[in-house]
């Protein structure tokens, strides 16, 4: 028992020492003063700058909304191909669909934006595509889990009437997953508003672009205003999604 404690303390001290060596302590001791300095420079925010922010905020909301819509269009067929009970082929199609889900989910939208800016140039469009790609995996994963959890007896009943494959889909499956679908869509839109605010940092349009520009010229009053606007946008998104989700469920 005591040996364990001793070992633990020894490891802790050793790690502390390593971190300490890698830290420039002067900057750390300096931190409160700098923070205070920035705070005094940043307050009060430059309120009249808001006139120039309308457009970027609108862009940001558009990136989130269009990105989510494109993502859903792709995610729905992918989800049906990935779900065990609806996939056309478990051996070939399902692994491909799962690969799409995993690969789009594993890379952050900021990195997608960096790649896409290199490919299609900077701007809002790159942001939309970045958000869309990142969201496909997320939406498809949640949706295919919802599809796998449906009540099979309803599907059986529709099949037994002599309905075609597509009719079974629209009557037996779609009504069952519709609430899940709406919930996923709104949830992802909410996340995407937050993600799209940073996309501008790498040049993919929206309010992040303004933030980057202001940071570069050390215009702290503008930075603080932008942060407030982002906060407002996120709160708005959260409020809308809460309302919509409340209406569905």
């Amino acid at each position: 028992m005591w040996v364990c404690w001793l070992l633990g303390v020894a490891v802790f001290v050793y790690c502390w020492q390593r971190i300490s060596e890698a830290t420039t302590w002067f900057f750390v001791w300096d931190a409160p003063r700098i923070a205070n300095d920035i705070w005094t420079r940043a307050t009060p925010p430059r309120w009249d700058y808001i006139a120039q922010l309308g457009r970027p905020v609108w862009d940001t909301l558009n990136i989130a909304t269009l990105g989510t819509m494109i993502a859903l269009c792709i995610a729905v067929p992918v989800a049906f191909m990935a779900a065990r009970n609806t996939t056309p082929s478990r051996l070939f199609v399902r692994p491909i669909a799962l690969l799409i889900i995993v690969s789009t989910r594993s890379i952050n939208s900021l990195i997608w934006a960096l790649l896409l800016i290199a490919i299609i140039g900077p701007g809002v469009f790159a942001g939309i595509i970045a958000i869309a790609i990142r969201s496909v995996g997320f939406c498809a994963k949640l949706l295919y889990e919802a599809i796998e959890e449906i009540d099979e007896s309803q599907v059986e009943a529709i099949t037994a009437t002599g309905a075609s494959r597509w009719q079974v889909m629209t009557y037996g499956i779609v009504p069952q997953i519709l609430p899940a679908f709406a919930g996923i869509a709104v949830f992802r839109w909410d996340i995407n508003i937050r993600e799209s605010t940073v996309l501008g940092l790498v040049g993919a349009g929206g309010i992040g672009l303004q933030l980057q520009a202001s940071l570069n010229v050390l215009a702290w009053p503008q930075v603080s205003l932008i942060l407030l606007v982002i906060l407002a946008a996120v709160v708005l998104g959260e409020w809308v999604s809460a309302k919509v989700r409340g209406a569905i469920i």
Partner: protein, 264 residues
């Protein structure tokens, strides 16, 4: 009308659910399929409309052999067989009317069904059926707002609007209370009588089966153990189907219930 020839189903796990079942159902006959859980009752019913693919054997519906049909022809054949389920299997989030009309899916094209533009004759028939089972007022309610007995009536309407020749009924009363169970069984048998439909009814409740049907089939471990009139169900026969148990109580109960019903 319906003829099964050495119908066999072996599941992938090796379970022999049906072992060479031969059965002939004449037009307009209502028969009950009894047997312990796992005897293959559900499998038998589902092998007829191929919700479960039989391993071997033949199923004749009139002049059509069902086991070799391609998908398209199978869908056409399924229109002739209405199915009623244990847990009702209604599409919970659709309205009662939509659920009834879904019985016409085999006759209506995809786009028409998607946009809910059913032929007026179908809609009229749906109203007529809902009126017949006493649910006319519920037509626009969502299916999940209904009680168990009401849901099963909707299930019956959905099966009948197909204009079938045969009803496949899977445990119609297993989720219902005793009174509702009887009402539902009576309704099914009345409707079969009105329309001259044949029906195969899977049922757990032996007493209930005896009250309503003309013929009883006993299934045990996938093979037919008994085939005869309901009065011929003696304790010996029930023992052969279900195993050793004191059956006198069950059978006496039937007689008492019979009198009770007559008294009503």
């Amino acid at each position: 009308m319906l003829r099964l020839e050495s119908l066999t189903k072996t599941y992938k796990t090796g379970d022999k659910a049906l072992q060479s079942v031969d059965l002939e159902v004449p037009e307009g006959q209502v028969l009950a399929l009894i047997g312990p859980s796992g005897a293959g009752k559900s499998t038998l019913i589902r092998c007829i409309n191929r919700l479960v693919e039989p391993t071997s054997g033949k199923v004749w519906l009139g002049e059509t052999e069902l086991t070799t049909l391609n998908q398209r022809a199978l869908r056409r054949a399924r229109r002739r067989m209405g199915m009623i389920f244990q847990e009702y299997a209604l599409v919970e989030r659709l309205t009662v009317m939509e659920n009834v009309l879904s019985g016409r899916l085999g006759y209506v094209g995809f786009w028409r069904s998607l946009t809910r533009r059913y032929p007026q004759s179908d809609v009229d028939e749906a109203f007529r059926l809902l009126d017949r089972v006493g649910l006319l007022a519920m037509a626009d309610k969502r299916a999940d707002e209904l009680s168990g007995g009401q849901r099963q009536r909707v299930g019956i309407c959905r099966a009948l609007i197909q204009n079938p020749e045969l009803l496949l009924v899977d445990e119609p009363t297993a989720s219902l209370d005793p009174k509702t169970s009887r009402q539902i069984m009576r309704l099914i048998c009345e409707l079969c009588d009105e329309r001259g439909l044949a029906a195969i009814i899977n049922i757990h409740d032996v007493a209930l089966a005896q009250m309503f049907v003309q013929r009883v089939i006993g299934l045990r471990t996938g093979a037919m153990e008994f085939d005869g009139a309901p009065e011929k169900l003696t304790p010996e026969v029930l023992t052969a189907i279900y195993g050793e148990e004191d059956w006198e109580a069950t059978i006496r109960k039937v007689e008492e219930e019979g009198e009770e019903v007559a008294a009503q």
